[in-house]
Amino acid sequence: MKELKLMKGNEALAEAAIRAGCDAYFGYPITPQSEVLEYLSREANSRTGMTVLQAESEIASINMVYGAAGTGKRVMTSSSSPGMSLMQEGISYIACAELPCLLVNVNRGGPGLGTIQPGQSDYFQSVKGGGHGDYKLIVLAPSTVQEMSDFVGLSFDLAFKYRNPVLILTDGALGQMMEKVELQPQKTRHFEDLGWTTTGRKNGNGRVITSLHLKADEMEILNNHLQAKYREIEKNEIRFEATDCDDADYIITAFGLVARICQKAAEMARAKGIKVGVFRPISLFPFPYAQLKEYAGKVKGILDVEMNAGQMVEDVRLSVEGAVPVYFHGRMGGVVPSPEEVLEKLEEKFAGGVK
């Protein structure tokens, strides 16, 4: 029987973590994601024995994640933009040491202390590296509370499949809004010694979790290995949603919550006789370059809409390779664009073709 519940995005995500058999959560309060830590503090330990620890900072949280992930347990943290910035050093270490774990960024508007209102201005930080060195996170962008829940189990599966950190990039609006969500069944927590895990020496040889390789040629071998893994992820893990794109004259590209706003705008456009589709990348890394390119060949233009100064639009342009004009509309600082505004931009940018 379906288990349906009305839940806040942050709470749905926290509930999903318990149900995914998560072993440990380490985090630090920051708006607009503190509900994750609060919900888990209340619910998790008594239900599954999951460890929940409020750390003294995001820096400590991410390093606790590093330590615990090295044992092969299912571990996670969550934060919001300024806190994620503090975590970048640790994330680089985790990516280099190839530790599976789940990271969640409930994005708020920046830069600086910014605002506690929603934003998508951490796209570059999430998708293009963020910390030092050449590394990639698998990045998933939910657009509904349902996906906030569903992506948790998926993220753990991907993290362990590739021994790579997975980031759920969401925003303050999705974190705070309430929607109906169908909950996943409870998985039992289970542990497997995966060979590389530091759980106490096995077979006479100490195992080491490290990101240090002092010799240049050894460090290059590791880098080549990481890059090969990222190519494999690009081959297998592309996720996207194309709504009404097949007969469209124009496509709006957007991720996360903004894609839903754009879908509303597209419906309004269709009501006016303008054929608009919405292309929503779900995996931001790997980005669906080829899939978007295919649609781009069939339309007259693309409007990219984001809650930032224009970040994903760079990847959209890389996909399209100049085949059609790509315009950008962004709101910043925590302002959420309205469907009317998106429609207006669409008509303005493509005035000639639309009229």
């Binding site: 820096i59 330590g67 615990a68 530091t198």
Partner: protein
């Protein structure tokens, strides 16, 4: 170094000449071969790190916990501690060893966990993690090597550099007016309710080596009893960056470091739980 304990060349030759010393029944020291890899260490001659590694290895082997222990290495000279200790280990970012150790211990509460950290790592960049790990009373051992200087990066001033002590970044001596006083972080963590056993030892003389070993042994016994954080400071040397030979550096340690960082227990647990003294 204590003159009496120094072996001059003649004495050494005499010893070799007396064959009896090589007989098995006269064995006084054996390398903890199960835990210490048979490989040369990269530490400078006379450096305390090698001695502390050996003590750790001996204790782990004697307690028979080789498969039940996870160590955390810092950033600093001992960043490659896992090249010498044949146990499961995790390398931590600079200053974060106690947070990494917390993460490990929280998901593996039945295992022994320790962090091994230098003064820059533990008392400068990692001060926050050190204090909060101790304050939460994480059931781990923090092994703190204090030689008053940044070794690996080439002799810069550390939080524990003595007043007027010269370093590459206090070339005229540490001026406490502008650079602050050395941080006695061991006394500081002893104030916290989460710490159970806090002691300051050294490895510059055989008698101190034995005491340090005893302290490590106790700390793991307390960890088994889930008593809270055990914190052992080892006042050590850095012959290379102090620009002294090993003997001089140990003498300097005795005369300069120890008056400021007095040896001995700072916080001792319940008397009836004590293993000796």
């Amino acid at each position: 170094m204590n003159e009496k304990t120094m072996l001059d060349d003649q004495h050494y030759e005499n010893m070799i000449a007396e064959e009896s010393v090589c007989n098995a029944e006269n064995l006084v020291y054996e390398k903890p071969s199960k835990v210490l890899y048979d490989t040369p260490m990269h530490y400078c001659p006379g450096c305390g790190h090698g001695v502390v590694h050996r003590l750790l290895a001996e204790v782990i082997e004697e307690l028979g916990i080789t498969s039940d222990i996870i160590g955390v290495a810092p950033v600093g000279c001992s960043v490659l501690a896992y090249n010498y200790l044949n146990i499961d280990m995790s390398e931590a970012a600079h200053g974060r060893a106690s947070a990494v150790a917390t993460g490990i211990k929280r998901v593996l509460p039945e295992k022994y966990v320790f962090s091994y950290q230098g003064d820059g790592d533990l008392a400068a960049i990692g001060t926050g993690e050190t204090i909060h790990t101790c304050n939460r009373g994480e059931n781990i051992l923090i092994l703190f090597i204090n030689n008053g200087i940044y070794g690996m990066t080439g002799g810069q001033m550390a939080p524990t550099t003595l007043p007027n002590m010269k370093s590459t970044t206090s070339p005229f001596g540490r001026d406490v007016e502008t650079m602050g006083s050395p941080l006695k972080i061991t006394e500081l963590v002893a104030q916290l309710p989460g710490t159970y056993y806090v002691t300051r030892q050294s490895v510059h003389k055989p008698v101190n080596v034995r005491k340090t070993k005893k302290a490590i042994l106790k700390a793991f016994e307390y960890q088994k009893l889930k008593k809270g954080t055990c914190f052992i400071e080892v006042v050590s040397n850095c012959p290379s960056n102090w620009k002294m030979n090993p003997v001089e550096s140990n003498k300097w340690l005795d005369e300069n470091m120890l008056p400021f960082y007095p040896l001995g227990d700072i916080k001792v647990p319940d008397k009836n739980l004590q293993t000796d003294d």
